[in-house]
């Protein structure tokens, strides 16, 4: 089979353009995937630096380093940067790199739009971060931008709103590309139920994105007109309602949290079978569970606002609907564990991160179940318990899956092996420190420490100091990750095509690194 190139206009393309032009004009899914991943890593460290400021301020009670307004903008922008700048672009980067290789396609379906979806992002985040240098500073009302508080922002307000619009446009275009690629570019014989789960979870994630990002765009547009054009959407005096914003926002926001975790499920479902040397247990139930989670994500949004004042019927509906999510999620965890059951397991770095994910994501899932119980949530709401909960699902969930994916596929991408010893050190230091960082926050929350506060009562001092120490170690250990990646790219040992002896899937049939256009001719699917 010729691996030359796919058709390029009438002539043949001979690989990437030279220098900077390659990265600016590229239509290649691997180049764009790399851009996304590098961007995400950069934003991960920018958002991480903000987290360090937060933990430094909370190291001791009393005001230490920054003024409260700046502290509030740190927690706000930390969230926006990590969600929209780090985790989502990282998943999109993985989608770009992997989906065409996994379904036997030469590239994404709409390659030029793919380029645009990436290149919007640096501009969007320049816009967002530039608000720090404007009168009134960065956004400081929390990433959810609840009015009327968020409307009190200074000159940066419209810049922040437009940054969200741009990031949303980027996500929507990226998602259209993913869906069309999956539905239209599969190699002959690659039926839907033969697709790797990473492709399945991204198909559903992309659907969630297209359905909800426009709703967020609508919500923030209403904020903009409420502030500057005299509309009354969120103003009770005019017949509107600030709570209405929360409903519209969380109609976006809850599917969004599944956008941040479904691709992670796909990654774990790829890694666990490889290192357990067994096929994935319950493939079709995984697909159905993913679909159920996506469906449920649209009818549970108000569990983020149990204490806002809702009719009791609403509280009950959203409580039961939320608890139902535990069922398909439980199916997934059960399947991963069953895949490992009696497998010939080995514990290379990707597998360590995958097992870490399963353990700690489940802890976050359980605390989520606690929060789902409306009367109990009245106690937990807006405390550090919530902070602990979503950091377990996002850091040791989403971020761990991205780390696992990086270690797992980096040899395929670069053709070189990473340093296994450093990888393992990275895993163990991260895992110990991340639990020192976030586990005590459960205690703080249950004891009543509110979130989004720069100062606190002395009774919370001990666990905050422990948490901060964990935070500094966790932050530092990510520099090790950066070093491992750079070291691999600059020259690791040569990787084989299959890389892992237990790996299955089309991407492992290509060379390491793969050809510029993955499959110029459709591969044969067994």
């Amino acid at each position: 089979m010729s691996m030359a190139t796919a058709t390029h206009d009438a002539d043949h393309d001979h690989g990437p353009a030279k220098g900077l032009k390659r990265w600016i004009t590229t239509t290649n899914h691997k180049d764009i995937g790399t851009l996304y991943l590098v961007f995400a890593l950069t934003m991960f460290f920018i958002g991480g630096a903000m987290a360090m400021v937060i933990r430094a301020e909370l190291f001791q009670p009393g005001m230490q380093l920054v003024d409260p307004q700046f502290f509030n903008s740190m927690i706000t922008v930390h969230a926006l940067v990590m969600i929209f700048g780090a985790v989502m672009p990282a998943f999109t980067g993985l989608a770009n790199w992997l989906i065409p290789m996994m379904i036997g396609a030469p590239d994404m379906a709409l390659p030029r739009m793919n380029n645009l979806s990436f290149w919007i992002l640096p501009f969007a985040f320049t816009l967002l971060l530039s608000t720090f240098f404007m009168e009134g500073g960065g956004p400081a009302g929390g990433w959810t931008l609840y009015p009327p508080l968020s409307l009190q922002m200074g000159e940066g307000f419209p810049f922040m709103i437009f940054a969200i619009h741009l990031a949303g446009i980027s996500s929507i275009m990226g998602s259209i590309n993913v869906i069309v690629t999956i539905l239209n570019m599969r190699a002959p014989g690659m039926t839907l139920m033969k697709m790797p789960l990473f492709v399945w979870t991204w198909l559903i994630t992309a659907y969630l994105l297209i359905a909800t990002m426009p709703v967020l765009a609508g919500a923030v547009t209403m904020l903009l007109t409420d502030k500057f054009a005299g509309t009354s959407f969120f103003n009770a005096a005019g017949g509107g309602d600030p709570v209405m914003y929360q409903h519209i926002f969380w109609f976006f926001g809850h599917p969004e949290v599944y956008i941040l975790i479904l691709p992670a499920f796909g990654i774990i479902s790829a890694i666990v079978p490889t290192f357990a040397r067994k096929p994935l247990f319950g493939y079709s139930s995984m697909v159905y569970a993913t679909t159920s989670i996506a469906f449920l994500s649209f009818i549970v949004w108000a569990h983020h606002m149990f204490t806002v004042g809702m009719p009791v019927v609403g509280e009950l509906f959203f409580m039961y609907a939320t608890m139902m999510i535990a069922v398909p999620t439980g199916v997934k965890v059960f399947n991963w564990v069953s895949t490992m059951w009696k497998g010939a397991m080995s514990f290379e770095t990707p597998m360590l991160f995958a097992i870490g994910f399963i353990m700690m994501f489940t802890i976050g899932g359980f605390s989520g179940l606690m929060l789902a119980i409306a009367p109990a949530d009245f106690q937990y709401h807006d405390t550090y318990f919530v902070v602990a909960h979503f950091h377990y699902v996002l850091v040791t969930g989403a971020i761990y899956s991205i780390m696992a994916a990086t270690y797992y596929w980096l040899p395929k991408w670069t053709g070189k092996m990473y340093d296994e010893r450093l990888g393992k050190i990275h895993f163990w230091v991260s895992t110990l420190s991340v639990n020192v960082l976030f586990f005590p926050q459960h205690f703080l929350g249950l004891a009543g420490m509110p979130r989004r506060i720069p100062d606190y009562s002395v009774q919370f001092a001990d666990w905050n100091m422990v948490s901060s120490i964990g935070g500094f170690v966790f932050g530092a250990s990510q520099l090790l990750f950066l070093w491992v990646v750079i070291k691999t790219v600059r020259g690791g040992k040569k990787a084989t095509d299959r890389v892992w002896e237990g790996a299955n899937g089309l991407e492992w049939t290509l060379s390491s690194p793969p050809p510029y256009h993955s499959f110029s001719e459709a591969p044969v699917i067994k």
Partner: protein, 288 residues
């Protein structure tokens, strides 16, 4: 490598995406500066919009030229179609946010302010004098006295115009498929004219609202939902009309054949979508 029907097609690199990203960046900076009352904001905004228009000419021009050269295969055509459908779905969800706001205000927030169910104490303590059901500008009488827009004058006529335009674009499509290019262009022109008349009447309606009904964007929740919904819809009709004109020119130039005219169909879908949104608007904003 021999080219067969099963060959994949990947377009070559292009500078247009980066031009698009920069154009969008400049546009929103201009808009933000303008909103903040900076002197040069409007200038920056128009430079940005000019760049957007330039980019669209350039990018779409490239795609059209490539298409006319015949380098696109059926798979590319399907990708374009599916992409357009999902784009329209995302647009529908954008409108859903504003319809959601309308329904929330009408079904929940205004009745709560009037004392319904759990709103009892809100009403008693905060707004005891408030008794005005929909259409309302709220207990604070935000924006002052106004009269609501009735459905059976211009809005009904506008409904008729848009529904007819849905018929005329289908007639144009049929003509194109029958190979009758002249008739196809004619019906496209009629469709674009119907769209333009709709916009003209809507502009007249807005002037009527502002000058005679004292109904403005700032007239409480009624004014907010009325103008934001009809305004965004009008913006989409404007975009749709421009698209129709482009398609009419392209049909006249003979860009489309009876069985290869994705751009035409994409515009037609978009136009029908705008039509359906208007029906929702007419029912929920004007009639009910």
């Amino acid at each position: 490598m021999t080219h067969t029907a099963n060959d994949y097609y990947v377009p070559h690199g292009s500078y247009w995406p980066i031009v698009a990203a920069i154009a969008m960046f400049i546009t929103v900076i201009g808009a933000a500066l303008w909103i903040n009352g900076e002197l040069n904001g409007r200038l920056v905004l128009f430079i940005g919009l000019g760049l957007v228009a330039f980019m669209m000419f350039g990018w779409f021009g490239t795609v059209i030229r490539e298409n006319l050269k015949g380098v696109y295969n059926d798979q590319v055509d399907r990708s374009f179609r599916q992409g357009m459908m999902w784009f329209i779905f995302s647009e529908a969800m954008f409108f859903a946010a504003f319809f959601g706001a309308l329904f929330y205000a009408r079904v929940l927030s205004v009745p709560w302010l009037l004392g319904m169910d759990s709103g009892f104490s809100t009403h008693e303590v905060l707004w005891p004098g408030f008794s005005e059901a929909w259409p309302t500008n709220g207990p604070g009488d935000v924006g002052g006295e106004f009269r609501p827009m009735g459905p059976w004058g211009l809005p009904a006529l506008n409904t008729l115009l848009l529904l007819s335009s849905g018929v005329t674009i289908t007639l144009s499509h049929w003509a194109l498929k029958a190979g009758d290019r002249g008739r196809s262009v004619l019906w496209l022109i009629v469709t674009a004219l119907l769209g333009a008349s709709f916009l003209g009447l809507q502009a007249y309606e807005y002037i009527h609202a502002y000058t005679e009904l004292d109904l403005t964007l700032a007239s409480g929740i009624y004014g907010s939902t009325f103008f934001m919904l009809t305004g965004f819809h009008g913006m989409h009709v404007t975009i749709g009309t421009v698209m129709l004109i482009v398609i009419a020119l392209r049909t006249a130039k003979g860009h489309f054949t009876a069985d290869n005219h994705f751009a035409f169909e994409g515009v037609a879908w978009y136009w029908h979508f705008v039509d359906v949104v208007w029906l929702g608007l007419f029912i929920f904003v004007y009639v009910l």
